[in-house]
């Protein structure tokens, strides 16, 4: 009873006060502002009508491109693209090529190849007005076709009585290798100006298949990156992309209010 009365009294009391003050202020101000007042009242203030733009976003991974400048053991390129399917879902794909020399303490090898990753992103970010930022979680299936060259290797000898033997130059090339994996992608894309977006993403990967060479291992898989014992891998990208608008969809305030209800 007390709460109910308190609730009733509080909204009622400030409301008329606000109305009174607004009414008092507005006529004092310009005529335009006074006209603008009835508009928001007529509109639904919670969800103003907005248009969602649909289209294709294409770009490149700057992290891979610039890494070649300071890392002599790396050359790589990755093109990124996504296509908006619905309000929240995007088809996403990455196409890349890498040439990476891995220098471990006992092995030095070079992996060369191309890869394609395809999947979707789910935008979990609720944009205001006409903002088009993306805070996404997604999945990809990746496939890589590559070759490996064993440059040098060392023999592990737990009893080096005759001294440590110098690294052996091999130069043996293993071609026709392939691997596939699934990855979970957490990403962020922000519109910086016009249709230009910058974004970055982290990927957690797990190998599904891995065709290893005889008497060697896939120490680096283009697109998957360095391999670990447990089939897991990680990745990072920093992309700049351009959005090509194809069509627009008006968001009617009533329908989106109803739709999230039954979906959830």
């Amino acid at each position: 009873m007390l709460i109910a009365t308190a609730q009733e009294t509080t909204p009622v009391k400030p409301a008329p006060k606000n109305n009174k003050t607004e009414e008092g202020v507005l006529p004092a101000n310009s005529f335009k502002e006074a006209k603008a007042v009835p508009k928001p009242i007529a509109k639904d203030t919670i969800s103003p009508p907005k248009t969602n733009r649909y289209g294709l976003r294409v770009g490149a991974d700057l992290y891979k491109l610039t890494r070649g400048l300071y890392d002599k053991d790396y050359k790589g390129i990755e093109l990124v693209a996504d296509y908006r399917l619905s309000k929240k879902y995007y088809l996403a794909a990455e196409l890349g090529s890498e040439n990476k020399t891995t220098d471990d303490t006992r092995l030095n090898s070079t992996a060369k190849g191309s890869y394609l990753k395809a999947g979707f992103d789910y935008n979990a970010y609720e944009n205001w007005l006409d903002m088009e930022n993306i805070l996404s979680i997604g999945m990809r299936y990746g496939f890589s076709s590559f070759s490996q060259q064993l440059n040098t290797y060392k023999i592990y000898n737990a009893n080096p009585y005759f001294g440590e033997v110098a690294p052996i130059t091999s130069g043996e090339k293993y071609s026709g290798l392939s691997a596939s994996w699934i990855e979970v992608v957490a990403g962020l894309k922000a519109k910086v100006f016009n249709n230009v977006f910058v974004g970055f993403s982290f990927q957690f990967k797990k190998l599904v298949s891995n065709k290893k060479p005889d008497n060697f291992d896939n120490l680096y898989i283009p697109g998957f990156n360095r391999t670990y014992n447990g089939d897991f891998g990680v990745g990072f990208n920093y992309s700049v992309s351009y959005f090509i608008p194809i069509y627009k969809k008006k968001v009617i305030p009533v329908t989106p209010a109803k739709k999230p209800g039954p979906k959830k």
């Binding site: 471990d104 303490t105 006992r106 092995l107 290797y153 060392k154 023999i155 592990y156 000898n157 737990a158 009893n159 080096p160 009585y161 005759f162 033997v165 052996i168 982290f202 008497n215 060697f216 291992d217 120490l219 990156n225 360095r226 670990y228 014992n229 990680v234 990072f236």
Partner: protein
């Protein structure tokens, strides 16, 4: 979180970067000593020192070069197809008459096998099928102390089995 993942991927903090001691890497040649007069019985050597050709120090076992026991493991060269050793019995004994030196040269072929990222490769050996070893007396002849040598296992892939039997 991001930094940790990044640090892992770059500075390689994963445990697969350390070659685990339990991993089977380059094996040694395992020799067992038997009694020549009673071939089914193992016989212990006394103060045996095994010195590789061109080396000054013998192969060390738990900080001693003296072997007292019926089995010994010796490393083979991973960059040559033969390894020569001097087997000196009663090494350093004040009584020079009991000190006896024999020369053994092992001939083999090698195969380098990939182990892992951390361990790199290992070398496996196969003793030569025709001339696995050459047994000669020391430069200063003192009669051979080794009476008979038999190849038990010619492919040397681990140290869990005897590869060579020496009867004396």
């Amino acid at each position: 979180m991001f930094l940790l993942v990044l640090a892992c991927s770059f500075s390689s903090c994963e445990k697969d970067d350390i070659c685990d001691a339990s991993t089977i890497t380059t094996p040694r040649l395992v020799i067992s000593f038997y009694d020549f007069n009673n071939p089914s019985e193992l016989k212990s050597v006394t103060d045996l020192t095994i010195i590789g050709e061109g080396m000054t120090e013998g192969v060390t076992y738990s900080s001693s070069t003296l072997v007292n026991g019926s089995t010994v493991s010796i490393p083979l060269k991973t960059d040559a197809d033969a390894t020569s050793y001097s087997f000196i019995l009663n090494y350093g004994n004040s009584d020079a008459t009991v000190v006896n030196q024999d020369e053994l040269k092992f001939n083999y072929s090698r195969q380098n096998i990939f182990v892992s990222r951390a361990c790199g490769f290992k070398t496996e050996f196969t003793l030569d099928p025709t001339t696995a070893f050459v047994h000669t007396d020391a430069a200063v002849a003192d009669a051979k102390w080794i009476e008979y040598i038999a190849v038990k296992e010619s492919s040397i892939t681990n140290e869990n089995e005897t590869h060579l039997e020496i009867y004396f």
